[in-house]
């Protein structure tokens, strides 16, 4: 036993010595085969610190918000948005396109001579195969492609897509990662099919890219790291950064320390307090970016579930009772209150200045008219410990609780675990809750989900029959292809929702990120997050 003990101690001391002798600064100079590494060090590398939710890079499955910026550089799409614009799609793989008179058929002429990173040439057949796979695998983002009825390829460089229904947001959807164009030959060699029962390429696509993008997926270890390397032969763009490393750093406080020490160049998940603390650091720059997310107080229209909050007058009273300035202050980073359900940045979004303002007296008067002069008690579902885009659900709920107390409404916060909250929310069982919505694709039509009879509307049990006029406006906006007419419809919808909808929209967050000050051309957009293509370092 004594021998074993001595051995144990000896091993441990050798171990500790080995570690103790290691100086972090000179470790990488002692490598035996360091020559290849030294060359890489001369390349421009950027290290990101991120707590990502992405777990796949197969275009037919990837849907997580943080995957968007990665997919955008791995795969080319037919069309794209440039910079912060989300209204005018620009040519990418498609040189030009035409839309038929009935607005259901799109004919795309493709750029010739584009090569995948595998060396194969991109043709119309690849576009057809990729889009059909995206639609038929029924993955998370497949709904974006389900309106596609038929895809024809008259020749190698022309694609004709016919839709089931008119969809003015179709081009906008085509910019999304689900429509990334795959090298169909390579993916089929890796077991790829267009049927979810037989497709076997996903695990391969999680570790390799099969696109024609500006970067190649070099390595992905879930919850550890993701490495992208530049595609030197890209047909259109030559980004400055040769290698992008995404390191999984789940704790925001660790991200902050690593950024200040120079171990990472970009911190994605800092909260507003940490951003404030970094403002004095001369090596760090803060970047504010608009988001397309909105937060709102959700009220149930079903009298049996909603009780008093199902009444329009009470809903209006609650909208007047909220202290919007206080809420946006708490949300931090220059967050603001949008006019209604349309986030600023989307077509037709009304000016936030014209929106609702707090008026406690008016709220009390409305409650009296509704027959509740002494107020009432409500229950509000809230997810604790979550702060999407840096806005804490709990903080918002507590502020709303204080605001409603001023008009004698007693709000009891029910803290719910995420999946339980989502299940109740989805089945419309919450009397009230604090909710957040981020759009699936960067187009105003997303927000029509808030209308009666639609996804979010139904979660408040707001059916089409309750407001057929508003529902009809939504149907018109959904098929109106003239931007000006669509804009007018969307404006009218926002006005009516602000008057009659079961929502009190209170915050559109502004996301703050921090990066080292030697990074230049940092562009962060709400639609695609960080633009890796423009990034450079001094």
């Amino acid at each position: 036993m004594k021998k074993y003990f001595a051995l144990l101690v000896a091993i441990s001391f050798i171990f500790i010595l080995a570690v103790g002798c290691g100086d972090p600064e000179d470790i990488d100079t002692e490598a035996p085969d360091q020559e290849a590494e030294t060359e890489e060090v001369e390349d421009k590398q950027v290290v990101m610190g991120i707590n990502p939710e992405y777990n796949t890079f197969d275009p037919a499955h990837a849907y997580e918000k943080s995957a968007t910026m990665i997919m955008k550089v791995l795969y080319d799409n037919l069309v794209t948005f440039e910079g912060e614009d989300t209204v005018t799609p620009r040519p990418m793989v498609a040189e030009s396109w035409e839309i038929s008179e009935d607005n259901k058929t799109y004919t795309f002429d493709l750029q010739e001579g584009i090569e995948f990173t595998t060396g194969n040439t991109l043709t119309a057949e690849d576009v057809k195969w990729s889009f059909e796979r995206a639609r038929d695998l029924k993955g998370n983002p497949s709904f974006l492609a389900e309106n596609i009825k038929e895809i024809e390829t008259p020749d190698d460089y022309q694609v004709v897509i016919t839709l089931h229904e008119v969809d003015p947001s179709f081009l906008s959807k085509l910019t999304q990662s689900v429509f990334g164009i795959l090298d169909s030959q390579v993916v089929q060699e890796q077991g790829g099919t267009q049927d979810d029962e037989t497709d076997d390429a996903k695990s391969w696509l999680d570790n390799h890219s099969a696109g024609s993008g500006s970067y190649i997926l070099d390595k992905f270890v879930p919850n550890d790291e993701l490495i992208l390397v530049k595609n030197d032969d890209h047909w259109a763009t030559q980004p400055e950064i040769d290698r992008v490393v995404f390191r999984h750093v789940s704790e925001p406080s660790t991200q902050m320390m690593m950024l200040q020490k120079g171990d990472i160049d970009f911190a994605f998940d800092l909260d507003s307090e940490q951003i404030e603390m970094l403002k004095g650091d001369e090596n760090v720059e803060i970047l504010n970016s608009n988001t397309f997310s909105i937060f709102w107080f959700h009220m149930n229209m079903d009298p049996e579930i909603g009780g008093p909050v199902s009444e329009p007058k009470v809903q209006q009273a609650i909208r007047y009772a909220l202290d919007y300035d206080g809420l946006t202050d708490l949300a931090g980073n220059d967050a603001f209150t949008p006019y209604s359900i349309m986030p600023v940045g989307f077509l037709g979004a009304l000016d936030p200045e014209d929106g609702i303002e707090q008026d406690v007296e008016k709220a009390k008067q409305l409650l009296e008219e509704a027959g509740y002069p002494d107020g009432f008690e409500i229950e509000t579902g809230v997810i604790p410990g979550m702060a999407p885009d840096g806005v804490s659900f709990m903080t918002m709920a507590e502020k709303i609780q204080a605001d409603l107390a001023q008009v004698n409404i007693t709000m009891n916060i029910s803290q719910e675990e995420v999946s339980i909250y989502l299940e109740k929310y989805r089945s419309g069982e919450h009397q009230t809750n604090v909710s957040m919505w981020g759009p699936d694709f960067p187009d105003a039509l997303n927000q029509l989900a808030f209308l009666p009879g639609q996804t979010v509307g139904l979660r408040a049990n707001w059916t089409e029959e309750m407001n057929p006029e508003l529902a009809e406006l939504g149907h018109q906006a959904r098929t109106e292809v003239d931007d000006e007419a669509r804009k007018e419809l969307l404006e009218e919808i926002q006005r009516q929702v602000l008057e009659t909808g079961p929502y009190a929209v209170f915050v559109q967050p502004v996301r703050a990120l921090a990066h080292s000050n030697d990074l230049t051309h940092v562009l962060y957009t709400p639609a695609f997050q960080l633009d890796i293509l423009t990034l450079d370092r001094q």
């Binding site: 004594k2 003990f5 144990l8 101690v9 091993i11 171990f15 500790i16 570690v19 290691g22 972090p24 470790i27 990488d28 002692e30 490598a31 035996p32 890489e40 060090v41 590398q45 290290v47 777990n55 796949t56 499955h61 849907y63 029924k138 998370n140 983002p141 497949s142 709904f143 389900e146 979810d196 695990s203 070099d218 270890v221 879930p222 919850n223 550890d224 790291e225 490495i227 490393v245 390191r247 999984h248 750093v249 789940s250 704790e251 660790t254 320390m257 690593m258 200040q260 020490k261 171990d263 990472i264 675990e417 995420v418 999946s419 989502l422 299940e423 989805r426 699936d440 989900a449 996804t455």
Partner: protein, 338 residues
């Protein structure tokens, strides 16, 4: 009963425990409220009945609970642990990725806690009620009572941020980020690739989280060693040993310590098992992609196959460690009868 028969009986018992664990884990994870669909599908995808139906069929969520369990068990016996709903990879691949990281960390932490626990325990017992005893006891109480996540954050702030003598989070520095793992064990892979720079970097990254993890166990070991050593030291045979004229070091190290170690052995086994499953907070702060983190994230997304996989693996390691402890008991103390 001989040692061999005892060991065989314990292994059979272990298999029964594991079956029990699968049943318990299956029932608990399936009866907690919450729907894996909402945790794993997007809002708009959830509104599409066809996507929802295919998803349920694909993950077997449309079948009854006993049916799901029987399918799972028959697959398990063929070595198939299913596919994780969240990562959409075979659970066995996930475990192969996360287990080695935790295994390396927990082993180092246990090693450190044994060394420091023994040294502190012996000092504390021999110098009973002296100043050094109080000092050592204060350290052990601190180790036990300090929340691991707080200790982790503070040590990172102090040793990494302020003093710059420890590295930041992760298993390796970003300069080595392209290094591909074969077995998942960085120590083994770096040695077999002849990359001692990577070995050094990996150990360097491991030392701080391991020390934090060792804190609590070290405290318990110190206290146990101290009390059992004090107990043994008051016994007659030690007085005899001293009366024979043996020097005090031999008395303590040879005659007292071995007997005092028997109760401590149980703690080694249990704490090792605990470390494997209970490293979630420390793993999260140091961004050490390990099993504790995987189990936690699987539970929060109701990823049934992953929950089952992680539970079975942790239970297996825990049971094996206990088995080893029990067998070792018999070897070092022949008085133990089976």
């Amino acid at each position: 009963m001989g040692l061999f028969q005892y060991t065989v009986r314990r292994i059979l018992f272990l298999i029964m425990v594991l079956i029990g664990v699968t049943i318990a884990a299956f029932i608990i994870s399936n009866t907690v409220p919450g729907d894996p669909l909402v945790a794993n599908l997007g809002q708009t995808a959830m509104s599409d009945p066809e996507i929802v139906e295919r998803y349920e069929r694909r993950w077997g969520l449309d079948r009854s609970l006993p049916e799901q369990y029987l399918i799972y068990m028959s697959n398990l016996l063929q070595g198939d642990m299913g596919t994780s709903i969240r990562s959409q990879r075979p659970v066995i691949d996930d475990l192969k990725q996360y287990f080695p990281a935790t295994f390396e960390l927990a082993t180092l932490a246990t090693l450190l806690s044994i060394i420091f626990g023994l040294i502190f325990g012996i000092i504390s017992a021999v110098k009973r009620n002296k100043l050094i005893d109080h000092f050592v006891r204060a350290i052990s109480v601190t180790g036990i009572s300090m929340p691991a996540f707080w200790l982790a954050l503070m040590s990172l702030y102090l040793f990494y941020f302020l003093l710059d003598i420890a590295p930041g989070s992760g298993r390796l520095s970003a300069d080595f980020s392209g290094f591909s793992l074969q077995t998942g064990f960085l120590i083994i892979d770096s040695i077999s690739a002849g990359r001692f720079d990577i070995l050094k970097n990996a150990l360097y990254h491991m030392i701080l989280p391991a020390l934090v993890l060792a804190g609590a166990t070290m405290g318990i070991i110190t206290r146990t060693v101290r009390s059992s050593l004090l107990d043994v030291m008051s016994q007659d045979y030690l007085r005899t040993a001293r009366a024979k004229g043996l020097n005090e070091t031999v008395v303590i190290m040879k005659h007292a310590l071995l007997n005092a170690l028997i109760p401590t052995l149980t703690i080694f086994g249990l704490s090792y098992g605990n470390l494997l499953g209970g490293t979630v907070l420390v793993e999260s702060i140091f961004d050490y992609p390990g099993l504790g983190w995987y189990a936690y994230i699987s539970a929060t997304t109701l990823d049934f196959p992953a929950i089952m996989g992680a539970t079975i693996l942790i239970a297996l390691v825990y049971s094996v460690m206990n088995l080893l402890v029990d067998v070792t008991y018999g070897i070092i103390d022949p008085r133990v009868r089976y």
